[in-house]
């Protein structure tokens, strides 16, 4: 990517920043919203996350699990009725929760976001090239001409054809727009990129191209990646580690290999079993019944209990603690004892099974 410096040097880090540790560290983050009728809705209920240079973390979950809210919180883009109740978000050791200079400086230059709907996220009356150049000019302080040239090179790098370099958003195809959004996100050479459903609603080929692009960024420039999606296949392809979110909490997290091969949490098992896997020849899917919880009026205990086939009385009374096993997997489920920290074997959750193709 021409014009982008190597991330770990030639960049003036904010004073007091630490260049060796994980880039982004989130501890016990709680985010809530106040609703019109006065209730408070806890969208993110104490999550822990960290991203190191060159690492790709996937955050999986259904709609309403809190994944997007977490991303908004990291960027400091919560709407007016939302707030960070507790917890910390540290970028290279700097606290981002406190509003002010550290947060503003890190936006875009250190942490950037690619949103889902690219047509909506781009300004329809401004040329795409200028939208890429804008951050370069105004945040990096480069003169307008240089910024424009850099923007054009960036767009070419992400695969926008020459004749579309001066285009407006509506003149690009969906895939091109998403790539343009990527160029906008990368314009200030951030160290961390958050992708919120970046490939949803794109066709498979385009999706593959964009993911391949992200992968290249990761390996060439040490870009830290947070991929938020409900599409497990994408996470399986791209990510090193995964965090499964449900009802605002991370119910299971660990390396993609471990979690996807040996899912332990009942919800993870449901997620993995819910997709028909043509390649593995699996012609059955597990049926997860029920609805995601209403986060404004949660019953006590584990958020997943109402839908869990392994739930018992304790599950509906006590919140399961998050336990870390051998630093490989974390679990929040009563079915798994702390076990002195040794990784327990998975317990299969007996979901009803649906055979495909049967009439």
């Amino acid at each position: 990517m021409s014009g982008a410096a190597n991330h770990n040097d030639a960049r003036s880090l904010p004073a007091g920043a630490n260049a060796a540790a994980p880039l982004l560290e989130i501890r016990d983050l709680r985010v809530s919203f106040s609703l019109e009728d006065g209730r408070r809705l806890t969208a993110v209920d104490g999550i822990n996350l960290s991203v190191s240079p060159g690492e790709a973390i996937g955050i999986a979950g259904e709609s309403g699990s809190g994944k997007s809210t977490a991303a908004s919180a990291i960027m400091g883009l919560l709407p007016l009725n939302g707030r960070i109740d507790s917890g910390s978000i540290r970028y290279r050791g700097l606290d981002l929760v406190a509003e002010g200079a550290p947060l503003r400086r890190t936006r875009w230059r250190e942490i950037a976001v690619v949103f889902q709907g690219s047509l909506v996220a781009l300004n329809p009356v401004i040329k795409v090239r200028d939208q890429v150049a804008e951050a370069i000019e105004l945040r990096l302080g480069e003169p307008a001409n240089a910024a424009r040239e850099k923007a054009k090179r960036l767009l070419a790098d992400v695969g926008i054809p020459d004749k579309r370099l001066e285009a407006y958003p509506h003149q690009l195809s969906g895939g091109q727009r998403q790539r343009a959004m990527l160029a906008v996100a990368l314009s200030c050479s951030p160290a961390v990129l958050i992708g919120d459903e970046p490939t949803t609603a794109l066709d498979v080929i385009v999706q593959a191209q964009i993911l391949e692009l992200l992968d290249r960024m990761r390996h060439e420039y040490g870009l830290g990646l947070i991929l938020i999606t409900h599409d497990l296949a994408v996470i399986a392809d791209m990510c090193d580690r995964v965090a499964i979110m449900y009802g605002g909490r991370i119910v299971e997290s660990g390396s993609v290999r471990e979690v996807f091969t040996n899912p332990r949490h009942p919800y993870t098992q449901a997620l993995l079993g819910a997709a028909p896997d043509a390649r593995a020849g699996r012609r059955t899917i597990k049926v997860l019944e029920g609805q995601p919880p209403d986060l404004a009026s949660l019953p006590p205990g584990c958020h997943f209990a109402p839908r869990c086939p392994l739930a018992d009385a304790r599950c509906t009374e006590e919140d399961p603690p998050t336990v870390s096993y051998e630093d490989r997997v974390t679990l929040a489920c009563h079915r798994y004892e702390p076990n002195g920290g040794a990784l327990p074997a998975p317990v299969a959750a007996p979901y009803p099974v649906l055979e495909l193709g049967k009439r």
Binding site: S63, S68, T69, A71, S72, L77, L78, P79, G82, V113, F115, G117, V120, D196
Partner: protein, 312 residues
């Protein structure tokens, strides 16, 4: 990002809001409450002005001295003929009420009917109707009214009365109806278009109901609220148009509306004489009425709009 995806659909998809329901929802807002109170006052004054201030004062029955400023005896002062302005203003409400209501009825019938037909039928009928509507939409309402009014007056004559309303006013009503229906038609048409695609209409069509039936039983109830909102806007506009036409002199001197009173004020050089009360009373009445209508119209619009935004 924060769970608020704006789904922009062609027309707005509305929930049914029944009449009583609408009123209750409106009354929850303090601004709509004040506005409705003002409009109720207007309606009462219009229906039975005599109850509040006695019979309309004329040049012959006027007792006071001309151009008196407001006092305990004459709350709004007197005009250049010595008539009590409070009396004139309250009676003037009747004209505004009648003109507003009749104009709204004509506009809604004409505009709503044509809009529903155009939206439902589609195709050539739709294109033709909308072409005609566009022509009327473009013509400046006021200028057209200006031209039509004297012509109609010549044709129908000054002195005839229908239902106690002089023909001059009926002329104004007709003119407003003719010039306002097109924007209502456009709004109704776009609503009908989006309703047409919904499942329950599809079902009705498959079952074999006649178009008229479908329009009456399925489409109309859903656009009722839109019509009400639009009707209120039409009332406000018609009051302004009528006052302007009367100001110029096309009104009825024997049933003075607020605009006529202002016209009299202008002819009597009230501004130059500093007779501010002569100007404030009728003008203030127009202002409050139109603002009240606008507030209610906006409130209804906002009530409808809330159903559209989708939360992710």
């Amino acid at each position: 990002m924060s769970g608020n995806v704006k789904l922009s659909v062609g027309g707005r998809i509305l929930n049914r809001v029944s009449g009583g329901n609408l009123l209750l929802l409106l009354l929850r807002r303090w601004d709509a409450r004040v506005a409705l109170a003002i409009l109720t006052l207007l309606a009462l004054s219009g229906i039975a002005p005599g109850l509040f201030v006695g019979p309309l004062q004329t040049a012959t029955t006027a007792e006071a001295a001309p151009l008196l400023p407001p006092s305990g005896v004459h709350l709004f002062g007197t005009d250049d003929l010595g008539r009590d302005l409070l009396n004139l203003t309250v009676h003037g409400a009747r004209i505004s009420l009648v003109v507003g209501a009749l104009s709204a009825v004509i506009t809604l019938l004409l505009g709503g009917g044509i809009g529903m037909i155009a939206g439902y039928r589609g195709g050539r009928a739709d294109a033709l109707l909308m072409r005609i509507a566009d022509t009327f939409l473009i013509l400046p309402t006021f200028v057209l009214a200006l031209i039509l009014a004297p012509i109609l007056r010549e044709l129908i004559g000054d002195q005839t009365e229908i239902l106690g309303i002089r023909t001059t006013l009926l002329t104004i009503v007709a003119v407003i109806g003719i010039t306002s229906w097109s924007s209502t038609a456009r709004i109704v048409r776009s609503q009908t278009l989006s309703l047409r695609e919904r499942t329950f209409v599809e079902r009705a069509r498959l079952v074999g109901l006649s178009p008229m039936r479908i329009i009456a039983r399925h489409i109309f109830p859903n656009i009722r609220t839109v019509l009400v909102a639009n009707g209120i806007v039409v009332i406000a506009g018609s009051i302004l148009t009528e006052s302007t036409l009367s100001f110029i002199g096309l009104g009825d001197p024997f049933q003075p509306s607020w605009g006529t009173i202002l016209g009299n004020a202008q002819s009597a050089a009230a501004p130059s004489l500093g007779a501010w009360w002569f100007i404030m009373a009728p003008g203030g009445a127009i202002l409050f009425t139109v603002i009240a209508c606008t507030i209610v119209g906006n409130a209804i619009d906002e009530l409808l709009d809330r159903d559209v935004r989708v939360r992710r």
